[in-house]
């Protein structure tokens, strides 16, 4: 994407947002969030008896003096949050005015910015066909410019297979996985969701659709050309057909909503021409993902 995805005004708005996490980090280097792991932070947790191999620097020598037994001091270790942002870079994302791809990249950028701003770590991955191109984990505000360059360099081509692409991701611990896609994938996304939940991920599905996909315009016989597969569907684009399409789209969204309820996911719809900051305020904040500082 060669266009300028973000401007200064947008960054200013993003600075007033933070990401709230409702799960604790168990892996990764120290960060700004509470973790289930006991570690080296200043917040005391409890004691346990020393066993060989423990770091002798953690022995509570005062307790040894009083009780004549070696105890290890345990502290609540603070960990950084791990965010995975999966961007569907199939060709179907090139559809619409503005293109869904642009909106998806802006959204990913905004979320990444918020993550970095909150001293968390973010991985941005591209999903194309059944492969996953995993980006490097980035942390620290200074990493954002790098992320921006990566986002802008993303190419949208080929088809989609969200299940296989997402399952290609290896996880070390829990975290938040955000999948940005139009979810126009015949195989669905259930397998991927199961995998993510198994990997202790809090999953957020953001479905980006172009307005032209929701409000169909056109008349007469059309040769519907699938942008991903090149497949043609010849049909009469009349009112009845449009009505049926809308019902099919609603059914797809309902399936995703059901999936969200079943696996405790967050499912958000977004229109490509929707103002991004408004979307972030209205939808993501309300879903408890982002809170106002």
């Amino acid at each position: 994407m060669s266009e300028k995805l973000f401007d200064q005004d947008f960054f200013t708005k993003l600075n007033s947002l933070a990401i709230a996490m409702n799960t604790r980090m168990t892996h990764g280097i120290g960060g700004g969030r509470k973790s289930n792991a006991k570690g080296t932070s200043v917040e005391f947790s409890d004691y346990r008896e020393y066993i060989p191999g423990d770091d002798i620097r953690r022995i509570d020598w005062g307790a040894y003096g009083r009780l004549d037994k070696l105890y290890i001091k345990r502290f609540m270790e603070e960990k950084e949050g791990i965010f995975q942002i999966f961007i569907d870079t199939s060709n179907s994302m090139n559809y619409g005015e503005p293109k869904k791809a642009r909106t998806a990249l802006q959204l990913a950028g905004a979320l990444a910015y918020l993550v970095l701003n909150n001293l968390d770590r973010v991985y941005i991955s591209e999903m194309q066909e059944n492969t996953l191109t995993q980006g490097k984990g980035r942390a620290g505000k200074q990493a954002f410019s790098q992320i921006m360059r990566e986002l802008e360099a993303m190419e949208f081509n080929g088809g989609t297979n969200l299940n296989q692409a997402i399952q290609a991701r290896q996880y070390q611990g829990s975290g938040i996985s955000i999948v940005i896609s139009d979810f126009l994938d015949e195989n669905g996304v259930e397998e991927a969701v199961k995998y993510l939940r198994y990997k202790k991920q809090q999953v957020i599905l953001i479905q980006v659709l172009a307005r032209q996909e929701v409000e169909i315009e056109g008349d007469g016989m059309v040769n519907l050309l699938d942008m991903e597969t090149g497949e043609e569907v010849r049909l009469s684009l009349n009112r009845a057909a449009i009505e049926q399409y809308k019902r099919a789209l609603t059914a797809l969204q309902e399936r995703l909503r059901t999936l969200a309820r079943r696996y405790e996911l967050t499912y958000i719809q977004m229109l490509a021409d929707e103002p991004l900051e408004k979307f972030l305020y209205d939808h993501v904040c309300n879903q408890g993902i982002i809170i106002h500082k």
Binding site: S92, E186, R234, R239
Partner: protein
């Protein structure tokens, strides 16, 4: 069923054109879309999978094809034949005789009913049926001949007017017969109220006779009576006939020139006639009318008229010793009663005449009134002889009384020349002087001829009776109508003054007709209406108007017998099935409109 045109079948070529247009129209546009996933999901629903769904998909095209087919069918003018027969030649005979004015029902007369039925019948005929409309009263008249335009036919039918004429279908039957002879098949329909003797003619007779109640005023007449003081008064006599089965009492109103003069109650026994009298009627006008006050089913025969005669025959006294030529020529003038004498002393004694002709003699004292013609007069009584001539050729000059003879030359052996008075015009010239003159001397018309007929060859010429007729016309303003009463349909010859203007006749409806004054062409035939007619002519700037009566044919038309039904006839209400079949075009046009409405509905639904 049959059709009138086959050429619209050529328009079937439009069907493939429509299909082709749809195929071209259905060439799909490229429509790039993010994913065909959802479309493929619904593909089975939206695409044709079942035969009726295929139809649904192309419903608009099918509707258009159906519309075009219906249109072609309509243009072919399909026609449902009656009983498997179809008539290309149809003759409608409408009886317009007086009895057709009898009320058929509360709303219509028989004639109106006949016209309505004829209109309905015309509507059921095929588009190509050639229709001839005849009227039949005592003659047959052609209203329309071989017309296919139904609106034209309907208009013509509605313009048919009833008459007060006697009915005689015989002429119409022979006209229809002669027309039918030229066709292989035809349909002739008589709409009448009397039986029709068809002879060998095949025709349908729709008899519209229905029972009716009618009183008729058959006629009135009058006589003049004088009382002891010598004052005249009129006695009016009239006759009423009661055609109903019960006694009727009715008031009879007597009008004189549209003013009610007297009223009398008259009782008329059932199915019989009754005379009535009005006595001592003080009326000095022109037209008497008696009217029945009761309303009945035939209005036209409720009035009768009598015209008071202003002038009758003109009386001419010929005073001569012997002039056979002149006598014969005068007798030929029909409106003249000729009296003859050779005694000058008889003139002006007992009787008065309209015209005196003195042949070769002049009385000492002229009668007080009456016009005069002097033939070869000796001097005296204002006649000044200027000289005598012999063996001379005389010429009629162009004047009022030498019409058709001016410029004619004739020879005389002896003649007198006159000094022409200032009031007179010269009409016979000897070349050097005036041998004959005419003019109005005060109140009297005078003509003078200065030779003895026996001394000339004029009496042997064809111009002589013409001259005499001209002289009679000039000398007397004659009566134009010779009869007091006529019957409807009569031909009337008026005795117009040849020197007068054209004759103007006004019928009871106020319609004026003009006839040339020449005797032979003055036959007036437009006497289809009963009532009072007036005839007028201007002679010498004096307008002479007379009235005459045309009577309603009461005997033939007012009181019919109800025995009508013959084998091929249907009477009145029984017949409602006069039909030439059924033209399907209107039905098809309605179907086309429905198809278009459905097409519009489908189009709106689909888009």
């Amino acid at each position: 069923m049959t059709v009138s045109n086959w050429w619209p079948l050529a328009l079937l070529v439009l069907i493939p054109v429509i299909i082709l247009l749809y195929m071209l129209k259905q060439k799909a546009k490229e429509y790039p879309f993010s994913s065909s996933m959802l479309w493929r999901e619904i593909y089975n629903n939206i695409e044709a999978t079942k035969p009726w769904e295929k139809l649904k998909k192309n419903l608009l095209m099918i509707l258009q094809i159906v519309t075009v087919l219906l249109l072609i069918f309509a243009l072919m003018a399909p026609y449902l034949k009656r009983g498997g027969r179809r008539f290309d030649n149809v003759i409608l005979v409408i009886d317009t005789s007086a009895s057709m004015g009898i009320r058929y029902n509360e709303d219509r007369t028989r004639l109106e009913e006949a016209i309505e039925r004829a209109c309905d019948y015309v509507d059921t005929l095929s588009e190509t049926a050639q229709v001839t409309i005849l009227t039949s009263d005592q003659e047959a008249g052609i209203v329309k001949s071989n017309v296919t335009d139904k609106s034209d036919l309907r208009k013509a039918l509605r313009e048919i007017q009833g008459t007060d004429l006697k009915g005689d279908a015989g002429t119409a039957v022979s006209v229809v017969q002669s027309m039918a002879n030229q066709w292989e098949q035809y349909e002739a329909v008589f709409l009448t109220d009397t039986p029709v003797e068809l002879g060998s003619l095949e025709a349908q007779v729709i008899n519209l006779y229905t029972d009716y109640q009618n009183l008729s005023m058959d006629y009135i007449g009058y006589g003049t009576e004088y009382d002891e003081a010598g004052n005249p008064s009129l006695t009016v006599i009239g006759k009423i006939t009661n055609g109903t089965a019960s006694d009727v009492v009715t008031d009879v109103n007597l009008y004189g020139d549209d003013t009610l003069l007297m009223v009398q109650s008259v009782q008329v026994p059932a199915a019989s006639s009754q005379f009535f009298y009005f006595q001592q009627v003080d009326f000095n006008g022109n037209v008497l009318m008696a009217e029945i006050n009761n309303k009945d089913d035939l209005e036209a025969d409720n009035r009768a008229y009598a015209a008071r005669k202003g002038q009758g025959q003109e009386r001419v006294l010929l005073v001569t010793n012997d002039n056979m030529f002149l006598e014969k020529a005068i007798v030929n003038v029909s409106w003249v009663d000729l009296y003859k004498t050779n005694q000058l002393s008889a003139v002006g004694k007992d009787e008065e005449f309209d015209l005196y002709i003195f042949d070769g003699m002049v009385p000492d004292t002229l009668p007080e009134e009456g016009n005069i013609i002097y033939m070869n007069p000796p001097p005296g009584n204002g006649i000044t002889v200027s000289g005598s001539i012999t063996s001379v050729n005389l010429e009629f000059l162009e004047t009022e009384i030498t019409r058709y003879v001016s410029g004619f030359h004739f020879g005389v052996s002896a003649a007198r020349e006159f000094e022409r008075p200032v009031w007179a015009d010269n009409f016979i010239s000897s070349g050097s002087g005036c041998v004959g003159y005419f003019g109005i001397d005060g109140q009297r018309r005078v003509a003078v001829l200065g030779f003895d007929l026996h001394d000339s060859d004029l009496a042997l010429q064809a111009e002589f009776p013409i001259l005499v007729s001209n002289l009679m016309d000039y000398m007397m303003v004659s009566g134009m109508v010779s009869e007091d009463y006529y019957e409807t349909g009569d031909k009337i010859v008026f005795n117009g003054n040849l020197n007068g203007s054209d004759i103007r006749i006004q019928n009871p409806e106020g319609i004026a007709t003009t006839l040339a004054a020449a005797v032979e062409t003055s036959a007036y035939t437009d006497t289809g209406r009963a009532g009072i007619y007036s005839v007028s002519q201007t002679v010498n700037e004096v307008e002479n108007t007379e009235h005459f009566v045309v009577r309603f044919p009461v005997e033939q038309e007012s009181h019919q017998n109800g025995e009508k039904t013959e084998e091929n006839e249907t009477v009145g209400e029984d017949d409602k099935n006069l039909s030439g079949g059924r033209d399907l075009r209107n039905l098809i046009i309605i179907l086309i409109l429905i198809a278009l409405a459905v097409e519009w509905f489908v189009y709106v639904r689909q888009h």
